[in-house]
């Protein structure tokens, strides 16, 4: 009995939560179309993609915490992302280039890079200018 109720209630709850967390941009000021709506319509972005974007933000939040970001900072960091950026990060945060600039390479790599540095193809070592 309990199981049946749960099975019936949980999809409803999920739907309610997702819809509730969508940005309330749908109808401000008597049905005006917002700039964001018009721009996403130009890009033929569907409602499904917008729900996807909301879920992506949750995903990014979890990933950032897992990557050692202070949980107190995570909320503000995710809020400052655009939808496209959030989706991009949700998909591939662990493969994204992260600017850091420290070489942790092996000796063989060192030699190759030294040669390419001198050829002017790379710029790892400051002394090869």
């Amino acid at each position: 009995m309990m199981k049946k109720i749960c099975r019936f209630l949980s999809p409803l709850l999920i739907a309610a939560l997702v819809l509730g967390s969508l940005p309330v941009a749908a109808a401000p000021a008597g049905g005006m179309i917002t700039t964001q709506d018009a721009l996403s319509a130009e890009r033929a972005q569907s409602d499904r993609e917008r729900i996807h974007a909301v879920l992506a933000r949750d995903d990014v939040r979890d990933q950032l915490v897992a990557q050692g970001v202070d949980p107190a900072e995570v909320e503000a960091r995710v809020a400052a992302l655009s939808d496209a950026e959030a989706a991009q990060m949700a998909e591939r945060l662990d493969q994204m280039p992260a600017g850091a600039s420290v070489v942790g390479a092996l000796f063989a790599v060192f030699v190759i890079l030294l040669v390419t540095d001198i050829l002017g193809l790379t710029n790892v070592f400051p002394f090869t200018r």
């Binding site: 008597g30 700039t35 939808d83 994204m96 600039s101 390419t116 790379t122 400051p126």
Partner: protein, 322 residues
């Protein structure tokens, strides 16, 4: 069932020359990829022969933290009161030992500046520097197989000497020749951005890219913060209907009803098929108690087929019944 590719037995005799050949080819290929970057003649004539933005402050990076350091330099140059220690928890990701590109842009927004990713060409870079805008550039200092991702701040160049000037790593005003600079920059798909106060626009931006950048900023900081940016954009691209449309919306949010009406009118004058502009114009006129003009605009909106037609018809009904 997986088909395995058939292996040909290799003859040992041919292996060594083949290896040498492969190595030579690889080096040639690498050298070919990194041929000296060429500038358009128009750029060469349009920009000053030598630029150095020496009012960009320098912050040496600590371990892995070229991202926060580069942001601190550009933001402070634009008058934001912040420092590297504030920025580290906002943009640095410990697990990745670095900072990722979307978060570099997002952090600029948090500090009330608009990040514009510029077109990835050396011409665009030099034109921005000539206009007085320092740029955060992303480089892969190493080869694609062992990437060493790095952010630096481009602050100048010398056309004669073919050199870039960058605040990079621990080195203020580091000089890099165009060729190695372009080779390392190309590996990030020539990613670079400027961080500007709302109202300032990059010298090289396309209307579409600017709309996107300002729209994203508006989504985070709200319409009133973005209003000066929309004003500048519609002045820069008076023929671009969406720029006027966005300006109208921002003015409307800022309770400037007459200003909004005039911006929406500019939008439909630039593109008479932009249904959202007709609809918003009609609704704004209706709020201003100008019923006849409102009906006229809403009729135009309702006559345009597409995604907004249904909504326009409803709005028309509402105003008609009023």
């Amino acid at each position: 069932m997986i088909d395995c590719p058939e292996r040909q037995p290799t003859s040992d005799r041919n292996a060594r020359p083949a290896g040498v050949l492969a190595l030579v080819l690889m080096l040639l290929l690498l050298a070919g990829c990194a041929s000296a970057p060429r500038l358009d003649d128009t750029t060469r004539q349009a920009v000053a022969p030598r630029v150095l933005l020496d009012d960009v402050p320098f912050h040496g990076q600590r371990d892995y933290q070229c991202g926060p350091a580069s942001l601190a330099m550009t933001l402070q140059h634009d008058g934001v009161e912040t420092d590297v220690d504030t920025l580290i928890p906002q943009v640095f990701t410990p697990g990745r030992e670095g900072s990722v590109q979307p978060e570099m842009l997002a952090t600029v927004r948090r500090h009330g500046r608009i990040p514009f990713v510029i077109e990835g060409r050396l011409d665009a870079l030099l034109t921005e520097l000539d206009a007085g805008h320092p740029l955060v550039v992303m480089q892969n200092l190493s080869l694609p197989a062992w990437p060493v991702w790095h952010y630096a701040v481009a602050i100048g160049y010398d056309l004669e000497a073919r050199e870039m000037i960058l605040h990079s790593g621990m080195e203020p005003q580091r000089i890099e020749s165009f060729r190695p600079f372009d080779a390392t920059w190309a590996r990030s798909d020539r990613w670079a951005f400027v961080a500007l106060s709302p109202g300032q626009l990059p010298a090289t931006i396309s209307p579409q890219a600017a709309l996107q950048a300002i729209g994203d900023f508006e989504g985070v900081r709200g319409a009133e913060a973005a209003l000066p940016a929309w004003e500048s954009l519609s002045r820069r691209f008076p023929d671009h209907a969406m720029a006027h449309f966005a300006l109208g919306n921002a003015r409307h949010t800022a309770a400037d009803l007459e200003g909004a009406i005039s911006a929406f009118r500019d939008a439909v004058a630039a593109d008479a098929t932009l249904a959202p502009a007709w609809l918003n114009l009609g609704l704004a006129l209706s709020s201003a108690e100008r019923r006849d003009e409102a009906m006229e605009a809403l009729e135009r909106a309702a006559a345009l087929p597409g995604r907004w037609q249904e909504r326009s018809r409803e709005a028309l009904e509402r105003v008609r019944d009023k």
